[in-house]
């Protein structure tokens, strides 16, 4: 064995390391659209979402070795993003702090019943009823859901994360994810019903 062997091995390891890093960065960047979509609804403004996503990628690229290959990279990125968001103290929260949750809740049929009553047809189909809701009204209604509930809706219903992933990202038990999701959707629908105006 020549005495250059360890150096060659080191060089090989270094090259492998660089390749792993490049692959990690490429894979993370491929997910950036999806990460942004979730981030945009976790915070109040586009600027805040952009800052948050940029900081998330800066931190992810710095600590890429902590990611375990083969695990859910999108969830790993969202975990970083959520922690950063909490560190920022959730500034510029739109959620009115005075809102009582109970007063914002109604049954799961409440929204449909309200919208259907606004359609002039005798027995309208579901699409006609759904058309009562504008895109803006949905964005508003979601933004007005208190953040504990909104976070779960955004991760599960918008980001399509599993309950287990959402639980890990938010560092709460799965049962809490499910109960917040159910209550959160009811709050969202109540907000939509309150925002739906006749005409």
């Amino acid at each position: 064995m020549s005495d250059t062997a360890p150096t060659t091995a080191d060089a090989r390891k270094l090259a492998q390391d660089a390749r792993d890093r490049v692959r990690f960065e490429e894979e993370a960047l491929e997910l950036s659209d999806q990460v942004y979509r979730v981030a945009r609804r976790l915070v109040g403004s586009r600027e805040e979402a952009e800052d948050l996503v940029q900081q998330t990628y800066e931190r992810a690229f710095r600590s890429w070795r902590q990611y375990t290959p083969g695990t859910n990279l999108r969830a790993w990125l969202l975990r970083i993003l959520t922690n950063l968001n909490i560190d920022r103290g959730r500034r510029q929260q739109r959620t009115p702090q005075t809102t009582s949750i109970d007063s914002n809740e109604a049954g799961d049929y409440f929204l449909y019943n309200k919208l259907e009553s606004q359609v002039s047809d005798e027995n309208p189909d579901e699409e006609r009823v759904l058309e009562r809701l504008s895109q803006d009204s949905i964005v508003e209604a979601l933004a007005d859901v208190p953040h504990d509930f909104r976070d779960v809706i955004v991760l599960v219903d918008i980001g399509e994360f599993s309950y287990a992933d959402a639980a890990q990202i938010l560092d709460i038990p799965i049962g809490t994810v499910m109960s917040r999701l159910h209550r959160g959707r009811r709050i969202l629908k109540k907000n939509l019903a309150d925002g739906a105006v006749t005409g």
Binding site: Q54, F61, Y109, L133
Partner: protein, 76 residues
């Protein structure tokens, strides 16, 4: 008991696929004969889809470029 009320209670877990087989059967039996509830279940499915689309805002090309610039240079 009021079956429509029971069905309303079961709607979210039914659509999430988290009910027990017995509960699914209970809800399904009612839905098969109650178009009033079936309509509301269908609306909920459509609403979830619609909400997902409605709140989707694409990332700006500017941010995309800024993120790409964070990559480690290849010659580093």
């Amino acid at each position: 008991m009021d079956w429509c009320e029971k069905c309303e209670e079961l709607m979210q877990p039914f659509l999430d696929g988290t009910l027990s087989d017995d509960e699914v059967a209970t809800a399904q039996r009612h839905l098969d004969e109650c178009s009033w509830c079936a309509k509301r279940y269908h609306f909920e499915e459509r609403l979830r889809h619609y909400v997902r689309i409605a709140v989707s805002e694409p990332m700006s090309p500017d941010l995309k470029a800024r993120l790409a610039a964070l990559r480690t240079p290849l010659d580093a």
